[in-house]
């Protein structure tokens, strides 16, 4: 009876959770669909169906376990990866950032230029008797006053007007001023109305009580998808690469442009552009060296410490407590303080050793510094892992070997290390992958430098692929997100192949069926 009751409770609980999650998803699907976020809507629908099938039927037992994890992984890891892959096919950089319709809207509004004298008027915003928007404009310096609507302009005689201290007219016949809240409610209309002035010029409101004289220099023709400059008669056509370009002068482009699909051009550029290509190879080699050396040194020191502490020793607890400190400190702080320590003039390291090494100005020393700091940051992790693993290796094994006359070195090489490696090799692979993309340490410690900038180098000596890509994607002025995405995809393919090869060889995934 008790068992039956327990089962009833857990089953009910399961249904409640499934119902809750489904309800939330349904709600989200509905509202995302209403807001035209179709991609998200579709993903959520697939998720909902998968949840319903998995938990309300016995379709697949394993899925009951891994579905939630996979949904999260797809939404926030795989999704963004696919987005990046998609972006690598676009001409996506500073100047080509928004969509084409957005770009056209902005070229049109950017094509409205103030007149040469940058004439502005003080205005009162209101309505004409027909409730149409109207402005009462004053030019106090020239003592000119007029009313203007979208269609007509009426000059006023200053003699008949009440003029305030600033020389502005405030009331006019037939004109009713709008209250601030009425104006706020009509913000969009006020912003888009062109009040009449002359045949070439019109007036736009530039907030509250200022208006300025404008002319439209660029006109868009949607049937031919071209812009025409009214003043110079230049015609601008979509160049297929995200810009409207003057048909007579390729270098005359309208801005902003948009991100246009250029398919594989970003990838071919990696091979054809000598500047990018020549930087990629040394960076790639250093990335591999950096990640390997990091894992190797961290693991070696971690293991050494774990073995040293793997027996009764005075002060063992204190040692342990101290040795895991780097792991518990915020790593940003640690990296930055190390950066200060390596300073040539004022750094603690030169101070301590009485040396005068230019740590961050020399490629070799900078690389050494990166490895040292990363060792500091990461060895406690391997110390913890290794000491756990060492304790688990049955003592009988090594004792038996010792009785058979094996030296302690032999015991280590033939028994301890192989057993240990079996346990930690997945973690070594994961650590290699982590360090391959360890952006923080490079960015915060050396910034990728030293870099032979004057010699024309585009990457620094300690730049790893991810920090190099970051420079391309986010450096001041010229951000090439499309190219950076392409490099990311290439990095990903390379590291994925290496890791898969490594996994196959070490048979990490085969050990359990």
């Amino acid at each position: 009876m008790e068992k039956f009751f327990q089962r009833k409770v857990t089953v009910t609980l399961k249904y409640i959770i499934v119902a809750l999650v489904s309800a939330i998803l349904l709600m989200l699907i509905e509202s995302s669909f209403a807001k035209r976020e179709y991609a998200i809507s579709a993903f959520l629908t697939v998720g909902l169906i998968a949840i319903a099938i998995t938990y309300l039927t016995n379709f697949s037992i394993p899925m009951k376990f891994f579905l939630p994890g996979m949904l999260f992984l797809f939404a926030f890891v795989v999704g963004p990866i696919l987005y990046t892959v998609a972006m690598s096919g676009f001409h996506f950089q500073t100047g080509n950032y928004i969509s084409k319709p957005e770009s056209i809207t902005q070229i049109i509004s950017g094509g409205i230029r103030p007149d040469a004298a940058q004439t502005t008027f003080d205005v009162v915003i209101g309505e004409d008797p027909g409730k149409k928007l109207e402005i009462l404009a004053s030019d106090p310096t020239n003592k000119k006053y007029f009313l203007s609507t979208a269609t007509s302009k009426t000059d006023l005689d200053p003699a008949g007007l009440a003029i305030d201290g600033n020389g502005d007219a405030t009331v006019a016949p037939g004109f009713t001023a709008l209250t601030p809240s009425e104006q706020a409610a009509q913000d969009k209309a006020l912003g888009s109305t062109r009040f009449a002035y002359s045949t070439d010029f019109f007036i736009t409101i530039e907030g509250g009580n200022v208006a300025s004289l404008k002319e439209q220099s660029l006109k868009y023709d949607s049937s031919t998808d071209t812009f025409t400059n009214v003043l110079t008669h230049a015609v601008y056509r979509d160049n297929g690469r995200g810009n409207f370009t003057n048909i007579k002068d390729k270098n005359d482009q309208l801005q902003p442009g948009w991100r246009a699909p250029i398919w594989f051009e970003n990838y071919t550029k990696l091979l054809t552009d000598p500047q990018i290509r020549s930087a990629l190879i040394p960076v790639f080699i250093w990335t591999i060296v950096f990640a390997s050396l990091t894992v190797l040194t961290q693991f070696a020191l971690g293991l050494l410490i774990a073995m040293t502490l793997n027996r009764k020793l005075h002060g063992r607890r204190i040692y342990r407590s101290i040795l895991i400190l780097p792991y518990a400190m915020p790593s940003i702080m640690s990296i930055l303080i190390w950066g200060g320590m390596f300073d040539t003039e004022f750094g603690a390291i030169n101070h301590l050793f009485g040396s005068h090494v230019h740590w961050f100005q020399s490629a070799l020393y900078a690389r050494l510094a990166v490895i040292i700091v990363n060792l500091w940051l990461g060895f406690p992790y391997f110390y913890l892992i290794c000491s756990g693993a060492l304790q688990a290796i049955p003592a009988e094994l090594s004792e038996a070997a010792a009785i058979d006359g094996a030296s302690s070195r032999q015991i280590f090489r033939k028994i301890t290390l192989p057993l240990l490696l079996q346990v930690v090799s997945p973690l070594l692979v994961a650590s290699f992958a982590f360090n391959f993309n360890n952006f923080n340490i490079i960015y915060l410690l050396t910034g990728g430098g030293p870099q032979n900038t004057l010699g024309g180098a585009v990457a620094g000596s300690t730049d790893i692929l991810i920090s190099y890509t970051y420079k391309i994607a986010f450096s001041a002025g010229n951000q090439n997100l499309g190219l950076a995405s392409a490099i990311s995809v290439v990095i990903f393919v390379i590291i994925a192949s290496i890791s898969l090869y490594g996994i196959r060889r070490s048979k990490v995934l085969d050990s359990f069926k």
């Binding site: 119902a19 939330i24 509004s109 950017g110 706020a184 530039e206 003039e345 230019h358 900038t453 001041a476």
Partner: protein
Amino acid sequence: MIQRKFGKVAALTVAAGLISGFVSAPVHAASNTIIVWADETRGPHLQQVIAAKGDWVPGYTIKIVPFSSFDALNAAFGNATALTGPDIVVGANDWVSTGAKNGKLAPVTLSSSVRANFTANNLFDLSYKGVLYGVPLDVNNVSMLYNSKLTGKPGTLTQMVKFYLANKSADKLTAGLCVAGGGMSWGAESVLNALGGAPYVMTASGTVDPTADPVPAATVAANIKRLFLGANGKSNGFFPATDTGCKTAFLAGTVPYAIIGNWEWQDYAKAGFDMNNLMPVPGLNHGKFGSAYASVSGAMLTTFAAQHGVDQGAKSLLNNFFGSSAGAVAYQNVELRPPANKKAQKNASVTAAQKGFGKAGAVAGLPQIGAILNGAAGSKSFWDLLPAFWTDVLVNGKDPQTSAAAMDAFFKTNIAAGIPQL
């Protein structure tokens, strides 16, 4: 069986009712709210000023969103779209060209009275291709401060070097002149200028000279050899190639001259340094100085404002608050940076140091032109070139003339590519 299904459906319905309140309840932002993004110092100060007097734009509510840091603000604005983006963003002048090219910033036409509050240089700083995108807010510049306990007011760079070499060991000096604020490019530009070089040369009429040689390699190299290098061709210790530790060393009294930033003058004043000892970096001859950049940060209009339906409100806020003298004084009394607004600069409530930096900028100031400094595609930016130059010459022992010529070539490329964008 039927009961079970009923149970499921019932649970589902109840749950739906409960959840709908949480997830889909819209977070209503009133339709006439102007959203302003700012960094960790300007944001809270703007909040304070707006809270004290909120009716700068009648009919609208102003909401200031202070980010946790300038970097965070930069990252967020770089990613923002109309969905959640701001109507006005308070940022650095070098955001203008990128923001305009990416369609994130919208053109602004200021009333003539507001425009009269600012210098042409400051408005130029917030323009791209001749179009203005915002209102200047505060001026950022660097200036040299000398330690009057160690030395007197120097007349020339040569005198400074002589003083350093003569008193190096007796006073235990760690350096002669170092850069404490602004970094080895922006902050150290006046040193390059004092030596006879510049990233670009201005004509008398205030435009970039397309033909002048920015870094006359032979001259600059000769000056560096004479002043900054020892007989062995390595640095004589007068001018360190990095800015790390300069502030501490100067405050500790082991460096006689330092280039400091106007955003942290209070740290120096508190340590007992007299702000009257601020001056531009002396040049090679008496009365000549190295020009330093004076850049403005500004409040910029975004294209999102029109999409949010508060374009007019945002423009009014720029004119009525950010651009007006009353707004600038109210704000700078809290923010304590040198105001860009000319009337606010003269206002009695603005402090001496705020004015002092302004004066140093006026004696030897250089307009900061992002379109040239950020570098052309395939070239290098000034921000990377100058630090690399110092390192090559002062640390790596490379030939100053070769290095200067290499830098000069990059500068020329950047000038040629930048001028059409002005």
